[in-house]
């Protein structure tokens, strides 16, 4: 009893007082699904790879990215980046330039010679892939990483499919395409070029394949029945673009008319312009109704390409076309007006869409074809067990990103199927909505603009139109990411808790609540910039 006057108890710590018992609701750390990831047809974890890029660790970022998509340098050029349309930052200033950072990472990987991760064990299974386009090569990559033997049969002389024979090189330089294709081949993927599969069942039996993934694409240009004189030069868009890859470039003449309103029509017109022609696009509806992406139309117009809206071609002759003017009816469909016009044209290119060559599927039991495309289940398998399909030959939006996504999805299902299992995708997190964010904490930072090639060179050469970011601008752009729904360790919850009830676990380990003392005030939830904490009612 050696205590001062009037003191009877030893000093104690307030830690004895477990204030957590006051709580009626508790904060819980969550990961929400960022809208960009949710949107990506290739299933990329965009927020995840930007997280690495933000710290300047580009190799980690690239490795994270290529878990889902082995072609970032291609993607960073030709993807229509619908992720950016979904980006929450768009509601603050402008969306994060995801596509430009992806390209930077892809180019950086090519420059530094980073290699894809090789499989650690062999499964002993052998998978046939038909078609070396985006979907086929994506599937080849994912199946190879899962340890399967992969053989790709490609009808054409080179790798890349539609990326080579459909996308002009001013949008996708061929050295970039080739490098990313070869990197997949280096994983041990066996490729047979100039080897068209005539009958899938025969080929599978001959090669003793355990499963097949078909991704032959849609390479047959649709023809419209246009009355034409004998001397009229009519060519379809996809043949034209394909012949651009060969030695003999097509002779189109000076006045080239492109018929159609899709991205292929724009590609053909811009290609013709670069060959010295004067292209004119004829389209039956208006610009608003055009299926081509707006930025591509804009770039084409900048390059001086003319468009004749609301027009159909009625007759083609040696050096002229007869055009009928159209008018949109109340439902927005074009209707003929009976007004005709003649325009001069040395050649007519039809860009009216493409069909799939389904010859290899003849006689395959169980297979279902409708609207000219092969029907597949949600597991990408056709009606014939063991034969899977993806890309342009199945019902879906036709673009490179969707194709790459199909390849990845099919690979997972094929892998499971080979083990007589079923692949069940993990349950998706709730979406990180803009309302989940506390935008006070983000500084205003407008999007970085990518350099564009000057207009003269765009009109006369096949040099790449859009430039890339350099390191400082790529880092800036990556750091504009809000990290929606995923903790990026800003320490706010740790700092704003009046009860020290947040435990900081250290770099990369995030945080933990100490529910002994958390009173459930909810301040951490309110002040979390990215919406990675939520309140849950306490069971009382």
């Amino acid at each position: 009893m050696d205590k001062p006057f009037a003191i009877t108890l030893d000093p104690g710590s307030s830690l004895a007082n477990h204030t957590g018992s006051w709580r009626t609701s508790r904060p819980v750390y969550v990961d929400r699904l960022p809208p960009c990831n949710k949107q990506c047809p290739a299933g990329e974890d965009i927020q995840g790879w930007l997280f690495h890029a933000e710290s300047g660790n580009y190799e980690s970022a690239w490795r994270h990215l290529t878990k889902d998509n082995p072609f970032p340098a291609i993607m960073g050029r030709v993807c229509y980046h619908s992720c950016e349309g979904a980006c929450n930052r768009g509601q603050i200033d402008e969306p994060v330039g995801i596509n430009s950072v992806e390209r930077f990472l892809g180019d950086e990987a090519l420059k530094r010679g980073w290699k894809l991760t090789a499989p650690t064990a062999e499964s002993g299974k052998h998978v046939l892939i038909v078609g070396a386009g985006p979907s086929g090569m994506s599937a080849a990559y994912h199946l190879r990483r899962l340890g399967h033997r992969v053989t790709v049969h490609e009808a054409g002389p080179l790798l890349g499919g539609m990326m080579r024979f459909g996308i002009p090189k001013y949008r996708l330089p061929r050295d970039v395409l080739e490098a990313e294709m070869q990197r997949v081949v280096e994983l041990g993927v066996h490729v047979q070029l100039n080897s068209k599969v005539e009958n899938i069942l025969d080929t599978m039996q001959d090669g003793k394949f355990d499963a097949a993934f078909l991704a032959v694409g849609a390479h047959i240009g649709k023809r419209a029945t246009i009355p034409a004189g004998d001397a009229a030069k009519i060519i379809d868009a996809i043949s034209l673009l394909r012949s651009m890859e060969g030695e003999d470039q097509p002779m189109l003449g000076r006045r080239v008319v492109v018929y159609g309103g899709g991205n292929t029509a724009i590609d053909v017109a811009r290609t013709a312009k670069r060959m010295g022609a004067e292209p004119l696009i004829v389209y039956r509806r208006t610009r608003e109704k055009m299926p081509a992406h707006d930025f591509e139309v804009e770039e084409a117009l900048q390059e001086g390409i003319m468009v004749k809206w609301l027009s159909t071609i009625k007759q083609a002759d040696e050096s002229s076309l007869t055009i009928e003017k159209m008018a949109l009816d109340s439902k927005g469909f074009p209707q003929p007006t009976g007004e005709f016009e003649t325009i001069e044209a040395d050649s007519l290119v039809l860009a009216l869409g493409q069909d799939v060559d389904l010859g290899l599927l003849e006689g395959v039991p169980g297979l279902q074809v409708s609207d000219g495309v092969v029907q597949v289940g949600s597991n990408m398998m056709t009606g014939h067990p063991g034969i899977f399909a993806g890309g342009d030959m199945v019902p879906a939006e036709r673009n490179v990103t969707v194709g790459i996504g199909h390849g990845k999805a099919a690979a997972k299902h094929i892998d499971a199927w080979l083990r007589s299992e079923e692949y069940v995708a993990p349950v998706k997190h709730d979406t990180a909505a803009f309302e989940n964010l506390n935008t006070w904490y983000y500084t205003d930072a407008p999007k970085t603009v990518r350099p564009m090639l000057d207009i003269i060179r765009r009109q006369s050469t096949f040099d790449e139109v859009q430039g890339g970011l350099d390191e400082s601008t790529a880092l800036f752009e990556a750091r504009r990411c809000l990290s929606c729904g995923n903790c990026f360790e800003c320490d706010n919850c740790y700092g704003v808790c009046p009860d020290n009830a947040v435990i900081k676990l250290g770099p990369g380990k995030r945080f933990q609540f100490n529910y002994d003392y958390c009173k459930g005030c909810g301040m951490c939830v309110a002040e979390c910039p990215c919406g990675a904490i939520k309140m849950e009612a306490e069971e009382i």
């Binding site: 030893d10 504009r480 990290s483 704003v496 009046p498 250290g506 909810g522």
Partner: protein, 337 residues
């Protein structure tokens, strides 16, 4: 500008920490090894702004004084919720004074340290005095003014929540006009605290021409830590006035504490500035200006302004007071020119 935000885009320097910031640019609060001067288990209400402000300020002071710090604490919420006998939440040398004499107690501690240092019995130890607005602007004002006038080597920190909160929300001389408390007009034509009364202590402190006076809020952690660290680097009487929202007394949701502090600053209702020897040397500019309603309507103490017939005139008077602050301190960027 007193506190310079970094040219850094993901979250600027507005968050507590950031894995991408250099160590020296992160706050004391972001450190795993921060003092946690005010430890868990204290009995403050959910979302208490004062508990938060006290830990922010004293952790920063401990960091600046390299752990050699003594705090004197006036009676009030902060003392009541942190030290119910025999427990304490304080992890620093801490003494409870009377309600009104904490400045004098701190002066005494500083004087004792000075003598002991002269005798070579101890090294340097710094002194902080702290209290709520009641203990500072009302009851302890005489002792505080004396401490300023003598320029005693003490940093005095006032946590201003605008009333006597732990005794049941009575009015203090820091209660803002129109705010309802238990001891202001409950009904009548103008309920709530009267206009034209009360005092703004930072201005009075400046009138003493002491070395350093600053205001801060719990919403601006980088700014708050900058000011405490700067004050700790100086000698003589220093005063920091921190706005700490009180969910209980203000009738606000517990998760809105920092939001309210932020709105107080962004509306201009609470000017955030620093002054040396009576002259304003820096202000924290308004970043996203808001009308005062945004701040008022989150608080039940102003609920009578937003009844069936909104008290438009009263709101206009509060807006005018905020606008006056904006003019007087140059809180908007264009006014700084």
């Amino acid at each position: 500008m007193s506190f310079q935000p970094l040219h850094f885009y993901q979250t600027g320097t507005f968050t507590v920490g950031n894995r991408l910031l250099a160590e020296e640019d992160r706050t004391v609060q972001a450190e795993i090894g921060r003092t946690n001067s005010l430890n868990s288990g204290h009995r403050a209400c959910q979302g208490c702004g004062e508990a938060l402000g006290a830990r922010f300020a004293i952790d920063a002071a401990m960091n600046a004084a390299r752990g050699r710090l003594i705090a004197a604490n006036a009676t009030g919420c902060l003392e009541v919720f942190s030290t119910p006998y025999p427990e304490t939440s304080w992890q620093i040398p801490w003494i409870h004074s009377l309600f009104g004499n904490t400045a004098a107690v701190a002066t005494g501690i500083a004087a004792a340290i000075k003598v002991k240092k002269q005798k070579g019995e101890m090294g340097d130890v710094r002194v902080v005095a702290q209290g709520g607005d009641g203990g500072t602007t009302d009851i302890g004002f005489g002792c505080l003014s004396g401490m300023f006038e003598r320029n005693d080597d003490v940093l005095y920190i006032c946590y201003d929540n605008g009333g006597y909160m732990n005794t049941g929300v009575q009015r203090s001389s820091a209660t803002p006009p129109a705010a309802r408390t238990a001891t202001t007009m409950p009904v009548g034509p103008e309920p709530g605290n009267a206009f034209g009364q009360g005092k703004f202590l930072p201005a009075i402190a400046m009138a003493h021409e002491i070395p350093y006076v600053a205001t801060a809020t719990v919403a601006g952690l980088h700014d708050l830590e900058y000011k405490v660290t700067k004050a700790m680097g100086m000698r003589g009487a220093r005063y920091i006035h921190i706005l700490v929202p009180c969910p209980l007394g203000w009738g606000a949701a517990s998760q809105d504490t920092i939001k309210l502090a932020r709105l107080a600053k962004e509306t201009g209702i609470f000017p955030v500035f620093e002054a040396e020897r009576g002259e304003v040397t820096g202000v924290l500019k308004i970043r996203r200006q808001q009308p005062v309603e945004e701040y008022l309507k989150l608080q039940k103490r102003y609920a009578h302004l937003f009844g069936k017939t909104p008290a438009v005139e009263t709101i206009a008077r509060l807006q005018a007071a905020a606008d006056k602050n904006i003019r007087k301190y140059g809180l908007l960027d264009q006014e700084a020119n």
